[in-house]
C-alpha cells in the first residue's frame, strides 16, 4: 500500500484536529493552573487554586446537581423509550416509517425544538391559554423557567438517542424465546423481566451513555427553559468566561466536565467487544 497517499489523505483532518482540539485543550489546561488577572485575563503564578475551588460546596453542588439532573432525564428517557422501541420492533412493515418518525425531530434543530416547548409552556403559551379559556384556572400556571421544564426539555431532546440503541438491541432478539417462555407458562410480564430486559442490557447501557453524556454538558436547554434560574455545569462554564471573567476557573470546570465524560465513555468502551464509534 502506498503510504504517501494515505498520509496525504489523513493530513488535512489531522492538522484540523491538532489545531482545533489538541491545541485548544492544551491552552485550557494551561489556563486551569494559572491565576485570574486584574482585568480578567490569565496570568501566572501557577497554582492549584482553581481545582481546590471545585470542592467549594457552591460549585460542588452545581456539579452534583448536573449529575442528578442528567440521571433523572436519562431514567425518564429509558422508561419512555423502552415501550416505544418494543412497539417499533413489533410493527412489521411499518418499522422503517416509525423509525424515521423517531429520527425526524432529532435531526431538525435543537434550538427550535426547545423553543417549541417555550411556546407551549410560557404564561401566554398554548397550554395556559387553553386552560384559561376553558375556565380551569384563573391565572397562568408557572410552567416555564423551572427545573421541571428543564428536565422535560432534556428528555424531549434526547429521547431518540435512547430509542435507537434499544431498538437495535431488541431487534436482534429471537422472538421464539418469548414463545418458548409462554409455552412454559410464563406470563407476559415475567417474560419481559426475565428475557426481554436482560437481553436488551447492551442497548440499555449504550442508550444511557448516549443520553447521559449530552445531558451532563447541556447548556442551551437549561438556559432557555430554566430562564437563567437553573444553574448547571454548562451554565457555570459559560458564566466564568463571560460575566465572571474568571477564565482559569472556567477552564478548570471545563476540564473536570470533560474528564467525567471521558471516564464514562472509557468505562463503557472497556466492556464492549466492538468499538463504541
Amino acid at each position: 500500500m502506498n503510504t504517501r497517499l494515505r498520509a496525504a489523505a489523513l493530513a488535512p483532518a489531522a492538522a484540523l484536529m491538532i489545531a482545533t482540539v489538541g491545541v485548544p485543550f492544551a491552552v485550557l489546561a494551561a489556563y486551569a493552573f494559572q491565576s485570574r488577572g486584574a482585568y480578567g485575563g490569565v496570568v501566572p503564578p501557577w497554582t492549584l487554586e482553581n481545582w481546590q475551588r471545585l470542592a467549594d460546596p457552591l460549585y460542588l453542588g452545581i456539579l452534583l446537581r448536573s449529575f442528578f439532573v442528567a440521571a433523572v432525564s436519562t431514567a425518564l428517557c429509558l422508561v419512555m423509550a423502552f415501550p416505544l422501541a418494543m412497539a417499533i420492533t413489533r410493527s412489521g412493515r411499518w418499522k422503517n416509517l416509525l423509525l424515521a418518525l423517531v429520527m425526524l425531530p432529532f435531526w431538525t434543530s435543537l434550538l427550535i425544538r426547545t423553543y417549541a416547548w417555550m411556546f407551549l409552556l410560557r404564561d401566554t403559551g398554548l397550554i395556559n391559554s387553553l386552560l384559561l379559556k376553558a375556565g380551569l384556572i384563573n391565572e397562568p400556571l408557572p410552567l416555564l423557567y423551572n427545573w421541571g421544564a428543564v428536565v422535560l426539555g432534556l428528555v424531549y431532546a434526547h429521547l431518540p438517542f435512547m430509542v435507537l440503541p434499544l431498538y437495535a438491541a431488541l431487534e436482534r432478539q429471537e422472538p421464539h424465546l418469548l414463545e418458548a417462555a409462554a409455552d412454559l407458562g410464563a406470563r407476559d410480564w415475567q417474560a419481559f423481566w426475565r428475557i426481554t430486559l436482560p437481553l436488551a442490557a447492551p442497548g440499555i447501557r449504550a442508550g444511557i451513555l448516549l443520553v447521559f453524556i449530552p445531558c451532563l454538558g447541556t447548556y442551551l436547554i437549561p438556559d432557555l427553559l430554566g430562564g437563567g434560574k437553573t444553574i448547571l455545569a454548562g451554565t457555570l462554564i459559560q458564566n466564568q468566561f463571560t460575566a465572571a471573567r474568571d477564565w482559569p476557573f472556567g477552564a478548570a470546570v471545563s476540564l473536570a466536565l470533560m474528564a467525567a465524560v471521558l471516564v464514562l465513555l472509557w468505562l463503557e468502551a472497556r466492556r464492549r467487544e466492538e468499538p463504541l464509534l
Binding site: 500500500m1 502506498n2 497517499l5 494515505r6 496525504a8 489523505a9 489523513l10 488535512p12 483532518a13 484540523l16 484536529m17 482545533t20 482540539v21 489538541g22 485548544p24 485543550f25 491552552v27 485550557l28 415501550p83 416505544l84 412497539a87 418518525l101 429520527m103 425526524l104 425531530p105 435531526w107 431538525t108 434543530s109 434550538l111 427550535i112 425544538r113 426547545t114 423553543y115 416547548w117 417555550m118 411556546f119 407551549l120 410560557r122 398554548l126 391559554s129 424531549y156 429521547l159 407476559d188 410480564w189 449530552p214 454538558g217 447548556y219 442551551l220 438556559d223 454548562g234 462554564i237 459559560q238 472556567g250 477552564a251 471545563s254 466536565l257 470533560m258 471521558l262 465513555l265 464509534l277
Partner: protein, 253 residues
C-alpha cells in the same frame, strides 16, 4: 401487553411531534397571541422584511455551505485513509471532538483564538466561525463515510491497481463513485449541524457577526414572537427535507 404497547407508542409519538406541529400551526395565525384567529402569512412577510434576520440567514447559509464543503472533503479523505489503515490517535481525537459538550468546545476554541490573537492582530468573525464549524462537523463526516467504506470490498480497488491504475486513480475512479451517496449524506448532515449551531457559534462569532440561530435565540430569550414560529417552520421543513433525502441516499446500495 400488545395494546399497552400500542397506546404508549401513540402517546410518545404525539409527545415527539405535537410541539413542532403546534409551533408550525401558529406561524400561520393571524393574531399575535396563542389564540387561533384565522390563517395568514403575515409573520412570514414580517420575517422576510426584517433586514437583520435576512442578513443573519445569509451569514448562516454562507457559513454552513463553506464549512460543509471543507469538512466533507477533509472528512472523506480522512475516512479513506483510516479505512486503509486505522490510526488510533486520529480516531481518538475524532471521538473526543464528538463527545465534547458544545459549551466546552466553544470555550476551548475561544481560548485558542484569544491566545492566538494576542500575538497576531486578528479578530473574531466569520472566519473563526467557519473554522469552528469545520472542526465539529469533521467527526460526523468521517463517521458516516467510514461506515460505508467498511461495507465495501477492498478487492475492487486492488483489481483496478492490478489492471494498471495508480492508487489515486483507483480511489478517484473506483472507490469515490461507490462512496458518493455516503459523501452526499455526510455533507447534508454537516450542513444541518452547522446551520443549527448556536452555542459554539455565539462564543466564537465576536461582536459583529450574527447567525440565524443567534437572532432566534435572542428573540426566544425575550419571550418569542410568531416571527420565530415562522422562521422555525421554514428551517424545520427545509432541514427535514434535506435529512430525508440524505437518508434515502445512504440506504441505496
Amino acid at each position: 401487553m400488545k395494546r399497552t404497547l400500542a397506546a404508549s407508542a401513540v402517546l410518545l409519538y404525539a409527545f415527539l411531534h405535537a410541539p413542532l406541529l403546534v409551533l408550525a400551526m401558529f406561524s400561520f395565525n393571524q393574531g399575535r397571541f396563542t389564540v387561533w384567529e384565522g390563517f395568514s402569512l403575515r409573520w412570514y412577510e414580517e420575517a422576510w422584511r426584517d433586514a437583520r434576520l435576512v442578513e443573519a440567514a445569509a451569514n448562516s447559509l454562507w457559513i454552513a455551505a463553506t464549512a460543509t464543503l471543507l469538512a466533507t472533503v477533509a472528512g472523506t479523505l480522512c475516512a479513506y485513509g483510516l479505512w486503509k489503515r486505522e490510526s488510533r490517535m486520529l480516531m481518538t481525537a475524532l471521538s473526543v471532538s464528538l463527545v465534547t459538550p458544545e459549551i466546552v468546545t466553544g470555550i476551548a476554541l475561544l481560548a485558542l483564538f484569544q491566545w492566538l490573537f494576542r500575538y497576531a492582530g486578528l479578530q473574531l468573525g466569520l472566519h473563526t466561525v467557519i473554522l469552528a464549524h469545520v472542526s465539529f462537523c469533521l467527526a460526523f463526516v468521517v463517521l458516516v463515510v467510514l461506515a460505508r467504506l467498511r461495507t465495501m470490498d477492498a478487492a475492487l480497488e486492488e483489481a483496478a491497481m492490478d489492471l494498471g491504475a495508480r492508487e489515486w486513480e483507483a480511489f478517484l475512479r473506483v472507490t469515490l463513485p461507490n462512496l458518493l451517496p455516503a459523501v452526499l449524506s455526510a455533507a447534508l448532515l454537516a450542513f444541518t449541524i452547522s446551520f443549527d449551531d448556536y452555542v459554539i457559534t455565539s462564543l466564537v462569532a465576536g461582536v459583529d457577526t450574527e447567525t440565524l440561530p443567534m437572532v432566534l435565540y435572542a428573540m426566544a430569550r425575550r419571550g418569542g414572537s410568531p416571527v420565530v414560529n415562522a422562521i422555525s417552520t421554514v428551517i424545520v421543513v427545509l432541514l427535514g427535507a434535506g435529512i430525508l433525502l440524505a437518508e434515502g441516499l445512504r440506504k441505496k446500495p
